[in-house]
C-alpha cells in the first residue's frame, strides 16, 4: 500500500507544479473473489487483484482525468500531462468550480470480524454448493427447476489525497449473495433475481440470518409460481413491503435528486431529472412531492450496509441526506462540482467504483424512513386491496417521472386481513407524484435488500441498499391482467 501512497502524493505535487488549480489522486488496491453454481455444480470461480491510481485535475476551468496501473513516477507524470492538456483544450464557456470543503486527514474502515481472505477457497466453494443442496432439500425444492447461485466478495483499500491537503485512507469489504432461480408451476414459470449484501465479513451470513432469508425468498417464488392468479382489481389500496418501497425510493426519488442529473450532466447517459421543472419555480423545502407520511433518506453511514462509507471519494465527511422530509423535497445529492452549482456545500455523494473511474454523484443506502405503525395496523384498515411483498420487472423514464413496478409475491387483502389468494403480476404504473401522493401510513419495521445502482458511461455499478419501511398507499389504479 505504501508505494501507492507515495505515488499518489507525488502525483498531487507534480500536477500542482504543472499548473493544476486542483488535483486529486486516488490509489485503490482491490481484491475480488467469486463463485457461481448452476443446479448445484460450480460453473465459474476465481479471484482477481488490481492496484491502480486515478487522477483528476482542474485547469483553466476544465477537468481532465487519467488512470493507470503502471505505478511509476515517469508514467504518472506523462498521464497527468495529457490530462492537463485535454482539460485546457476543453475551452469551456463556464468554468468548473468545486465547493469549498474542510480539509481532513483521517482513516475509516468497515467493521469486519472475519475477512473473506481468511476463509479457504474450499470452504467458500463448499458453502455455495451446500446452500444449493439446502434449497433442493426444502419441501418446495423440486419446483426450483433452474438454480443459479452467486457469491461475490470484494475488498478495497483506498488512499485519496488532494491539493488542498486532504488525505483519507479507507478499507471496505463487500460480501454479496444472489440467487437467480426459476420455479415452475401449473400456470407457467416465475423467475427471480434476489440479492443481499453487506460491508461486514463472513460473519454476516449468521448475524443477519442470510441463509434463512434466501430459503424464505425461494419458498415465496415457488408459492407464486403455483398459486398466483390473474385478477383485475381496478382502483384499490396497496401495501408494499420494504423491498418494493425501497426500489421506489431509489428510482423515483434517489435518481431525480442527483445534482448532476438535474443540471443535465447525464443528458446523454443515465438521463436527466424532472426536479429541474420544480426547481425552476420553487426552492428546496417548498416543493411538496408527497404526503406528510413520506420521509426518504439516503444514508452512507449505516453500519454494515452495502453502500457504507464515512468519507466520500472527494474527502468530504458523509452524513444522512433527507431527500424527502414529511412530503417536501429537502436535500439533493451533491458532489463538490454540483454543490458549487447549487451554491451550497457538498453532502458527500461522490463515489467511484474503481481507480479507473471518475467520482460521480451517487446514492448509498436509500430508504423509506420508518413510521408509527405495525404492519398489521396497515393491513387492518384496508377493506379491499393488495399486499405486494416483492417485485419482478420494473421500468422508469429517463427523467424519473413515469414509473412501473410489477409485483411478484402479492396477496389479496380483504376486510383487514391478508388472504391466501395470490395475484399474478399486478402493476403499479404511476408518476412519482402519484406514488407519494397516495401514501397515508408507514410501518415501524424495516428491511434492506441489496441492489447494484447503474449509472453513467462507462457504466459504474455502485453497491447500494434500497429498502426501508412498509408503506400503505390509498386508491391506486392497478394495471396487469
Amino acid at each position: 500500500m505504501k508505494d501507492g501512497y507515495e505515488i499518489a502524493e507525488h502525483a498531487v505535487e507534480y500536477g500542482t507544479k504543472k499548473g493544476a488549480s486542483y488535483i486529486e489522486a486516488r490509489f485503490v488496491d482491490s481484491r475480488s473473489e467469486g463463485y457461481t453454481t448452476r443446479n448445484g455444480a460450480i460453473i465459474g470461480g476465481g479471484e482477481s487483484f488490481s492496484k491502480g491510481i486515478g487522477i483528476r485535475v482542474i485547469t483553466e476551468g476544465g477537468i481532465g482525468f487519467c488512470s493507470t496501473a503502471k505505478l511509476e513516477k515517469q508514467n504518472i507524470e506523462k498521464a497527468i500531462d495529457i490530462a492537463l492538456k485535454m482539460a485546457q483544450a476543453s475551452k469551456r464557456k463556464t468554468p468548473i468550480v468545486f465547493s469549498e470543503e474542510d480539509v481532513v486527514e483521517t482513516k475509516w474502515q468497515a467493521d469486519v470480524k472475519q475477512h473473506i481472505e481468511d476463509k479457504s477457497d474450499e470452504e467458500k466453494v463448499q458453502f455455495i454448493i451446500d446452500l444449493d443442496k439446502t434449497l433442493v432439500n426444502q419441501d418446495f425444492g423440486e419446483s426450483l427447476v433452474m438454480r443459479t447461485l452467486l457469491l461475490e466478495m470484494t475488498r478495497n483499500k483506498k488512499y485519496i489525497v488532494n491539493s488542498e491537503g486532504s488525505k483519507v485512507e479507507s478499507d471496505k469489504s463487500l460480501i454479496a449473495f444472489y440467487t437467480f432461480n426459476t420455479a415452475k408451476g401449473p400456470l407457467g414459470s416465475e423467475q427471480r433475481f434476489y440479492g443481499q449484501a453487506s460491508s461486514k465479513g463472513w460473519e454476516w451470513f449468521k448475524e443477519d440470518n442470510i441463509i434463512e432469508k434466501i430459503i424464505e425468498d425461494n419458498r415465496a417464488l415457488v408459492k407464486t409460481a403455483n398459486q398466483a392468479k390473474n385478477m383485475k382489481l381496478g382502483v384499490t389500496d396497496v401495501v408494499v413491503s420494504g423491498e418494493v418501497a425501497g426500489i421506489i425510493a431509489h428510482e423515483n426519488t434517489g435518481h431525480p435528486s442527483e445534482g448532476d442529473r438535474i443540471l443535465g450532466r447525464e443528458g446523454a447517459q443515465a438521463g436527466e431529472s424532472f426536479y429541474i421543472d420544480l426547481l425552476e419555480k420553487q426552492k428546496l423545502g417548498e416543493i411538496k412531492i408527497g404526503t406528510e407520511a413520506v420521509t426518504l433518506i439516503d444514508d452512507p453511514t449505516m453500519p454494515g450496509s452495502a453502500g457504507y462509507y464515512l468519507y466520500d471519494d472527494e474527502c468530504v465527511k458523509a452524513r444522512p441526506r433527507f431527500l424527502i422530509k414529511e412530503g417536501m423535497i429537502n436535500d439533493l445529492l451533491l458532489n463538490r462540482e454540483f454543490a458549487s452549482r447549487f451554491e451550497t456545500k457538498s453532502n458527500a455523494a461522490a463515489r467511484a467504483i474503481g481507480y479507473n473511474r471518475e467520482p460521480l454523484v451517487r446514492m448509498a443506502n436509500t430508504y423509506f424512513a420508518p413510521g408509527e405503525f405495525q404492519v398489521e395496523e396497515l393491513i387492518e384498515d384496508v377493506k379491499k386491496g393488495i399486499y405486494m411483498k416483492s417485485f419482478t420487472e420494473w421500468n422508469i423514464d429517463d427523467r424519473r417521472f413515469q414509473s412501473k413496478y410489477v409485483g411478484l409475491e402479492v396477496y389479496l387483502i380483504e376486510n383487514g386481513e391478508v388472504t391466501d389468494t395470490m395475484i399474478r403480476r399486478p402493476t403499479l404504473e404511476l408518476t412519482t407524484f402519484g406514488l407519494f401522493g397516495g401514501v397515508d401510513a408507514v410501518s415501524k419495521d424495516t428491511e434492506f435488500p441489496y441492489g447494484t445502482c447503474g449509472k453513467s458511461d462507462p457504466m459504474q455499478g455502485a453497491p447500494c441498499w434500497m429498502g426501508g419501511a412498509q408503506v400503505r398507499m390509498r386508491n391506486i389504479r392497478l394495471g396487469g391482467e
Binding site: R38, A41, I42, I43, G44, G45, G46, E47, S48, F49, S50, K51, G52, G62, I63, G64, F65, C66, S67, T68, A69, K70, L71, N75, A79, I82, A83, K85, M86, A87, A89, S90, K91, R92, K93, T94, I96, D121, E122, V125, M146, T148, T182, L263, G264, R265, E266, G267, A268, Q269, E272, I276, D277, N356, E358, R399, D457, P458
Partner: protein
C-alpha cells in the same frame, strides 16, 4: 519485454500442471470526452494493459486477469491460479479448446495509427459537433466521444501465437430543445479520415431531430406498420443474435434454446454476423482460442440456422 509475458504465462502454467492455457495481452490507451449543456465536462485517458489468462486442469477451469503485468506478478499469480483450478470441481460447461494452429486473414481498415495523437484535436472536434447541433436548432447538447487503439497478442498452450492492432472511435450526440424534446445521432468507426466532418454531421442530425420532436403527441395504442432505422433495427434484432450464443442456450438463459432450425421470423429476415468488415466495431481476425473468425449466417429467410460457438460448446453439443 512485454511481448514475452504471454509465453512466460504458458510455460509457467504448464509447468505447474495446467493442461490447457490461453494468455491474451491487451494494450489499450483509450480516451473519452464527455459533454453536456454544450460544454466539455471531462476528458479522460485510461492506460489499460491487461494479461488475461484462462487455464484448465482437465475440466477444472479458472480465469485470472493480471493488470499491468510484470514477471513478478506472473510468478505470483499463475501458480496460485493453477492451484486454485485444481481445487475446483469439473466444469459442466467446459469440454476443451481449439487445438489447431491457423493462419489468419488480414482485415483491411482495422487500424488507423492516427488515433495515437487524436487526443490533441478531439476536444476541438467535439466543440465543432456541439456548434453544428446548435446551428440546427438545439438549445443544449450532450454526448460522448470515445477513441483509442488496441494491440492484442494471443498465445495458447497449443501453439497459437498471433497478434493484431486496431483503432476505434464512437460518439453519441444528444440535442435538446427543451426539457422534453431531444434528438440523437451516433457515429462509429475505425478510420479517422473525415472524422471532423462526421462529427459535425452527427451534431447537425441530432439538432434537426430534436427540433422535430417539439410538440410531439402521445401515440395511441394499436396495430401499426413499423419502419425501423438501422440503429433501432440492429438494437432490437441484435437481441436475437445475443440469444444465439450456445453457452446461454446450455444454461437455459436463451429464449432461442428450443428453436434451432425453426422459422422464428418472416422469410425476408436475414441476420449475419460478419467479423471481417473493415470499419466494423466488432471485427477481429481470431477469437480468444485462436480460431479464425468467419462470416456466420444466424437467421436465413427467417430460420434460425447458425450459432456463434467457441470450441467448448461446439464439442459439448456434438456429444
Amino acid at each position: 519485454m512485454t511481448e514475452n509475458y504471454p509465453e512466460k504465462v504458458i510455460k509457467l502454467a504448464q509447468k505447474e500442471g495446467a493442461t490447457e492455457v490461453i494468455a491474451k495481452l491487451t494494450q489499450n490507451p483509450s480516451y473519452q470526452i464527455r459533454f453536456s449543456n454544450s460544454n466539455i465536462d471531462i476528458s479522460k485517458k485510461w492506460d489499460t494493459n491487461v494479461l488475461e489468462v484462462f487455464l484448465a486442469v482437465g475440466r477444472k477451469i479458472t480465469q485470472v486477469d493480471i493488470q499491468d503485468p510484470t514477471e513478478a506478478k506472473i510468478e505470483k499469480t499463475i501458480p496460485r491460479a493453477v492451484s486454485f483450478a485444481k481445487k475446483m470441481p469439473d466444469s459442466d460447461l467446459y469440454a476443451g479448446m481449439q487445438q489447431k494452429v491457423h493462419s489468419y486473414k488480414k482485415i483491411d481498415g482495422l487500424y488507423d495509427k492516427r488515433t495515437h495523437n487524436l487526443f490533441e484535436k478531439a476536444p476541438e472536434m467535439v466543440n465543432i459537433a456541439i456548434d453544428s447541433a446548435i446551428e440546427a436548432g438545439a438549445k443544449r447538447v450532450a454526448g460522448v466521444l470515445y477513441f483509442g487503439n488496441v494491440k492484442t497478442e494471443l498465445m495458447t498452450g497449443y501453439g497459437v501465437n498471433a497478434s493484431y492492432e486496431s483503432s476505434y472511435y464512437r460518439s453519441t450526440i444528444r440535442s435538446f430543445v427543451d426539457n422534453e424534446s431531444s434528438g440523437q445521432d451516433i457515429i462509429v468507426g475505425r478510420d479517422l479520415s473525415d472524422l471532423e466532418k462526421k462529427m459535425a454531421l452527427a451534431g447537425k442530425n441530432a439538432g434537426k431531430i430534436a427540433t422535430m420532436a417539439i410538440g410531439g403527441k402521445q401515440g395511441k395504442a394499436g396495430k401499426y406498420d413499423l419502419i425501423m432505422s438501422p440503429t433501432v433495427a440492429a438494437n432490437i434484432l441484435g437481441e436475437i443474435t445475443n440469444g444465439a450464443n450456445p453457452v446461454m442456450m446450455l444454461i437455459g438463459m436463451s429464449p432461442l434454446s428450443d428453436h434451432f432450425g425453426e422459422q422464428i421470423g418472416p422469410e425476408n429476415l436475414n441476420i449475419v454476423d460478419d467479423p471481417h468488415i473493415g470499419e466494423g466495431f466488432g471485427s477481429k481476425p481470431f477469437d480468444i482460442e485462436g480460431t479464425p473468425t468467419s462470416k456466420t449466417p444466424i437467421i436465413d429467410k427467417g430460420v434460425l440456422i447458425g450459432l456463434i460457438p467457441n470450441t467448448t460448446p461446439g464439442l459439448m453439443m456434438q456429444a
